[in-house]
């Protein structure tokens, strides 16, 4: 299980990365994170949405109510230009970080 501290710093990054390809709604995001991390990272409703709203406020993502025929409207989040910038930056620094950690702990298959 990833510690809370790490999660906090990287949660924005996870969400932005997932929104890079297509708009998604909150439940979808929580499921994707859970499945892609093999269940290691879990977002519950009480922490996911405050995070989404804060990112929206920062102008990284934008929520929009979308109605599809025969369905209730749902709020989909899509990434903004500012958000893409953030992903790019974070991705770089993240890779640097991972690389640095790798240098310290050595190759996994050494």
């Amino acid at each position: 299980m990833i510690t809370l501290d790490l999660k906090k710093g990287s949660a924005d990054f996870l969400i932005l990365s997932l929104l890079r390809d297509e708009p998604r709604h909150g439940y979808e995001l929580s499921k994707l994170i859970e499945s892609r991390s093999g269940g290691v990272v879990q977002f519950q409703v009480s922490s996911l949405y405050p995070l989404l709203y804060r990112m929206e406020e920062r102008g990284w993502i934008k929520g929009k109510w979308i109605e599809k025929a025969g369905q209730r409207r749902r709020r989909y989040y899509h990434i903004t230009a500012a958000g893409r910038e953030v992903v790019k930056e974070q991705r770089e620094s993240w890779l640097e970080f991972v690389h640095a950690i790798g240098q310290v702990v050595g190759p996994a298959h050494a």
């Binding site: 439940y27 519950q44 922490s47 996911l48 949405y49 995070l51 406020e57």
Partner: protein, 901 residues
């Protein structure tokens, strides 16, 4: 499955979000929880287990706290969430808006105070002023169909505006004809009123002697009894009186059984036939105490004159037709009484014009001032609200980011604006009420209608003024919503918090408003300045007398007990002897005229050696019968010859003293002493020998040229003697004591005589300029108001501009700018704005002051001193108003402003 929405809403409640936002969040989260519930059920959990699990997850991590943190929300008790409301009734959310609004006004005490004062003055002062103007100028006269009422005059020669009073012969001829007017009536206004004795206490009352049709012509009804009937003015009709409401209440204790009772008026028992309502004051205004019936014997000649005539035009008779009829009637009068002037006719002037005409220029000027002050107040409020809007952009942006809907924002701003409007508006109403009270109590006699109980705050005007100013408040209260909410909120937050510079367009707008304020203020100040200079000149006019220590009082001898000259002369002798013996009295006199504006009468005269040719008009002079030491009592210098003395008694030849103006005009280059003049007609009986020349005195008002005057000894009983006169006493003692002693002396000689108008000469002069003083004071007050508002306006704008530019100023200071440079920067910017306004105002003033030239005495409408002094004053005020913000700017600590982000 539980009701997720309810559970979520319960958790959101403490956040106090807008209802809209709350429901949005609830909807989104409920969908999530529903799906999660379905997922758990699909994995085999029971209904109850799945529910418990989902609710746990919802409650885990304290959603409200997380949301509150997200939104950087201040704790609830430190401030109601701006522009937001929780689910609750509209009333409670409105109440919250009100509390929030009140708090935000309290947090900006400078803004709130200035806005409130501006509103109060704008609404209050303008309403008070307009109410007064309305009462005098616009309110119709209190008569039936006042537009049909006219005054009728005799016009001699072809000079228009030459309006002379009529005679009994004229009145009877017009009344008999009946083609031009449906009714007409005459009135006379004895200057000295009537003696009235109630329970052995003599008093003077003021009233009018009227013909029978007076009240029916005006179309007014009595509240008790009746008015005069046809026949009440026939020769030998018994004396009757109609009382004013004021007389009936004050002197008769509102006696309901007064009709038929008898009053002792002019020494005659006079029967009360009616009481008029308070609205009937014509023609004496505040001195309308009673109306007595005139009686008209069949005239044997056309004169004497002295009747004022009021008439009601016959509907459907065209003006040209009426003129023709009037010319015919005049021709009939000439035919019946030949020998008089032959180039005259009847003319008419509307009563309304007659009444408010002389006041019109002054009142219109004041009305203009009202409009200008109202404009300035609106401009100021607009400016304040705009400045506030800009400074609140940040706050608004934060609220928008927090999810406050635009509707909620607009509502909040409106509530705040309304609070301000209520505050300023209610103060304004108080100012208006107080203002009307003050204005009516200090108004001069010529504006007596104001004392009418019905003069109050005019509701329509109040509504108009309130609408204008409060309208500006509410309109510009919304500016932040319009400016802020539409802007990209996040960008604005950053900008606003960091204190970026102001949008140039808005700054230009505010500067333009200040320019307008200064221009308007300047116009008012120039107008006020001209009037103040004019008033100063009026007050310093040399009336021709040395009035210090001089007490005067007026006395009217009733004709019933003082039938002819001998009785009048005996009374004079006894009174003057009594007054001379008073301690401290230096000289005493009796006269029919007094400076500055009481002249006895005027008469035609000519130099006896140069009688006028046929058809040539003789000049007119003021004629005054004087007694005793008139010239020394008033300090009028003797320039040549001698003053009257014991030699000039009833047995001596006719003698006269002339004023310098008359002497210089009609005896140029020679000394007239010993010459003879004819006064009132040819022949030796009308010839007077000039024994002296005295200094000029103004008897026609301080604004008029010194009178060409001829003085006669009272005792010779020739020209100018009337049963009413003034006593004059020069004293070394206090004037108050002398006034009391004069009363006692009169009372000892004739206990039934009343004396009135006990005044010092100084008071007479002050009273004569009371009208000028009143309008000058009013305009000056308005100009001062405008000045204060303009100063507040420029102060507000400059303070605000400095606040916005503190970063820029900080950078300049950090880069080595001296404080002096900062002063120059701020003052320079403020003075440029003020200067543009002043320049525009000067141009406007130069064009507008011509309209007040009628009101000016010996001051040009483009008086250089005023046109220089006023702009300098305004610039000084502007510099002062900019100095305070400049000082604040110069004290900016660069390290603080630049670090602040």
């Amino acid at each position: 499955m539980p009701d997720w929405s309810a559970e979520i809403l319960a958790q959101l409640a403490p956040l106090g979000l807008s209802a809209e936002r709350e429901f949005e969040i609830a909807e989104e989260l409920a969908q999530h929880l529903e799906q999660r519930f379905a997922e758990l059920r699909a994995h085999g959990a029971s209904d109850a287990d799945a529910s418990r699990q989902v609710l746990d997850e919802l409650r885990h991590g304290a959603l409200p706290d997380a949301l509150a943190r997200t939104q950087h929300r201040a704790p609830r008790d430190a401030g109601e969430p701006p522009g937001a409301r929780s689910t609750g009734s509209h009333v409670s959310s409105l109440w919250r808006d009100v509390r929030y609004g009140a708090r935000s006004l309290r947090k900006a005490p400078g803004f709130t105070t200035i806005a409130t004062i501006t509103l109060a003055l704008g609404i209050g002062a303008t309403t008070a002023m307009f109410s007064v103007l309305d009462a005098v100028l616009l309110r119709p006269l209190p008569f039936a169909q006042p537009e049909q009422l006219v005054r009728v005059f005799a016009t001699y020669g072809s000079t228009p505006g030459n309006l002379q009073s009529l005679s009994v012969a004229d009145l009877l001829a017009l009344r008999a004809d009946g083609r031009a007017f449906s009714s007409l009536a005459s009135f006379r206004v004895p200057n000295d009123g009537f003696s009235y004795v109630a329970v052995d206490q003599p008093d003077r009352v003021y009233g009018t002697v009227v013909s029978a049709g007076f009240f029916s012509t005006l179309g007014v009804q009595p509240k008790l009894g009746r008015t005069f009937r046809p026949g009440d003015d026939a020769p030998g009709a018994p004396p009757l009186v109609v009382l004013s409401d004021a007389f009936w209440r004050r002197r008769l204790g509102s006696d309901p059984a007064v009709i038929g009772k008898s009053l002792d008026l002019q020494g005659r028992p006079t029967t009360v036939i009616g009481v008029m309502p308070p609205s009937v004051w014509y023609p004496r205004g505040d001195r309308a105490e009673l109306w007595i019936n005139d009686t008209f014997p069949q005239p044997g000649r056309r004169g004497p004159f002295g009747l004022a005539v009021v008439a009601r035009e016959k509907p459907g008779v065209a003006a040209a037709q009426r003129d023709a009829v009037l010319a015919q009637v005049a021709a009939e009068v000439r035919a019946r009484f030949p020998g008089g002037p032959d180039r005259w006719t009847f003319s008419e002037q509307s009563l309304a014009q007659r009444f408010s005409g002389p006041l019109r220029p002054a009142l219109l000027m004041l009305m203009g001032a009202v409009v200008v002050v109202l404009l300035i107040a609106c401009v100021n409020v607009t400016n304040l609200m705009l400045a506030r809007a800009t400074s609140r952009e940040g706050e608004i942006a934060v609220r928008t980011a927090l999810g406050a809907s635009r509707a909620a924002l607009v509502r909040q701003l409106l509530v705040e604006g309304t609070l301000l409007a209520i505050l300023g508006g209610s103060l304004g109403v108080l100012v208006a009420i107080w203002g009307v009270r003050v204005l009516t109590s200090v108004a001069p006699d010529s504006l007596f209608v104001l004392r009418d109980a019905s003069t109050g705050v005019d509701a329509r005007v109040l509504a108009l003024a309130a609408l204008a100013t409060i309208g500006s408040v509410l309109l510009f209260a919304l500016a932040p919503a319009i400016l802020g909410a539409s802007a990209r909120a996040i960008g604005a937050v950053r900008e606003a918090v960091r204190g970026g510079t102001d949008a140039p367009s808005r700054r230009r707008l505010r500067s333009a408003l200040v320019v307008a304020e200064f221009a308007l203020s300047l116009v008012l100040l120039v107008g006020a300045g001209l009037l103040v200079r004019s008033l100063a000149k009026l007050r310093s006019v040399d009336t021709g007398v040395h009035g210090e220590g001089v007490v005067t009082a007026s006395i009217a001898l009733p004709s019933t007990r003082y039938e002819g000259l001998p009785q009048i002369v005996i009374f004079h002798d006894r009174l003057l002897a009594a007054l001379r013996s008073l301690p401290g009295v230096e000289s005493v006199s009796a006269s029919v005229g007094l400076p500055p504006d009481v002249f006895g009468s005027s008469s035609d005269f000519f130099v006896s050696s140069r009688p006028p040719a046929d058809g040539e008009f003789s000049p007119l002079a003021d004629v005054l019968a004087v007694d005793g030491d008139y010239f020394s009592a008033l300090g009028i210098p003797l320039l040549s010859g001698r003053v009257f003395d014991e030699r000039d008694d009833g047995n001596a030849p006719n003698r006269a003293i002339v004023s310098r103006a008359l002497a210089q005009k009609y005896f140029p280059g020679t000394n007239p002493v010993g010459e003879r003049i004819n006064v009132g007609g040819p022949g030796d009986a009308n010839a007077y020998t000039i024994v002296g020349v005295v200094g000029d005195v103004r008897y026609d008002g301080v604004a008029q040229a010194p009178s060409e005057a001829i003085y006669f000894p009272f005792v010779q009983g020739g020209m100018g003697v009337t049963p009413s006169f003034s006593v004059v006493a020069r004293t070394r003692a206090g004037t108050d004591d002398v006034a009391r002693l004069v009363r006692e002396a009169v009372h000892q000689i004739d206990p039934q005589l009343a004396i009135a108008n006990v005044r010092t000469v100084h008071e007479l002069v002050e009273e004569s300029v009371a009208g000028d003083k009143f309008r000058t004071t009013l305009l000056a007050v308005f100009a001062a108001l405008a000045l204060v508002l303009a100063a507040v306006g420029i102060y507000g704008v400059m303070t605000y501009a400095v606040g916005r530019r503190s970063r820029e100023i900080g950078i300049r200071l950090a880069l080595g700018a001296r404080a002096g440079a900062i002063y120059r920067l701020v003052l320079g910017e403020g003075l440029v704005v003020a200067g543009i306004g002043i320049a525009i105002g000067l141009l406007a003033s130069a064009m507008l002051t011509r309209t007040v030239s009628k009101l000016l005495f010996e001051v040009s409408a483009t008086d250089v001193a005023t046109f220089v002094a006023v702009p300098v004053l305004l610039l000084a005020i502007a510099a002062l108003a900019c100095f305070l913000p400049a000082r604040r700017a110069a004290r900016v600590d660069p390290s603080v402003t630049m670090r602040t982000d």
